[in-house]
Assembly symmetry: C2
Homo-oligomer: 145 residues x 2
DNA sequence: TCCCAATAGTTACTATTAGTAAGTAGGAAC
DNA sequence: GTTCCTACTTACTAATAGTAACTATTGGGA
């Protein structure tokens, strides 16, 4: 029985992202990455060109765009097609494997967008508490047991 | 109507992670992070101590553990409780807000664990193709249009 | 004829971030 | 009085990300 078959049957395998030696840890590193999340989100619906991806992903440099696209291609998540035209034309599209990752990644992007106000409020509260602790140290959050 | 109410009604707001100036971009940066994914996964079920979190998260240093926990606390995703005992005892637990993020993050961890074999295969194929391209450059993946 | 525009990069350099290893506190046990 | 415990800091180094300038190719315009 392959590991994949075991996974489908929900039998635990050796794959475990909490183990630093496991290849899944490297994978988590790759996909738990802001540029990967944003780029796969853009390619979810349609094929796009290099320059379009750069324009639509605010703040990404050419270097990071190339680097991230190259990694995603190597991992089999996107496909790169070069057209022999001048000026050059290179199109990127999502693969079936990449498509299985779109929904999970979209979920965390959407989470950011829907919960940002609660997070900003928590940050303000934390910073305020930090300030008052500077005046009166060690009076907060300590439990005497 | 608040942005959150708009979000609940699925009305588009100004929040957009593709805009580099948007606070949601910073948020995406925080949660699209391997240590955050792993730590929130550990805290999903139970409160844990600093040393336990370090033991269960392979390869994390004390510095990164402190740093990541501090960020998650500031963002309101986890809670930190200090007990006035010797030796010190500090417990970390997930907040209701953090709990809403557990499932999305678990999904990408699980994706890594269930699709790793396909990714490893894609990587081998890519590396092999790269090698053969070195022998015969520019014969692959180019479309003449 | 010479120069510029357009696309998809690469490269060299700098800044930021992550990782490593050693140090700190304060009391309890030996 | 020396060591141990936990949960950190801090100083230093290594790796990664960001910035900006450079490249190839060729069609079109002055």
């Amino acid at each position: 029985m392959s590991d994949q078959e075991k996974n489908e049957l929900n039998i635990s395998t050796s794959w475990n992202a909490y183990n630093e030696q496991c290849p899944t840890r490297l994978m988590l590193n790759r996909i738990a990455d802001k540029w990967a999340v944003l780029l796969l989100g853009l390619l979810e619906r349609e094929t796009k060109r290099f320059s379009t991806l750069q324009r639509e992903t605010g703040g990404i440099s050419q270097k990071m765009l190339t680097q991230t696209l190259r990694s995603l291609e190597r991992d089999g998540l996107i496909q790169r097609t070069v057209y022999a035209s001048v000026p050059p034309k290179v199109e990127y599209s999502i693969t079936p494997l990449g498509f299985t990752l779109v929904a999970p990644l979209a979920a965390i992007r959407v989470w950011s967008e829907t919960h940002i106000e609660e997070v900003l409020a928590a940050q303000s509260a934390y910073d305020k508490a930090q300030d008052s602790e500077k005046q009166q140290p060690n009076v907060r959050k300590i439990v005497f047991n």
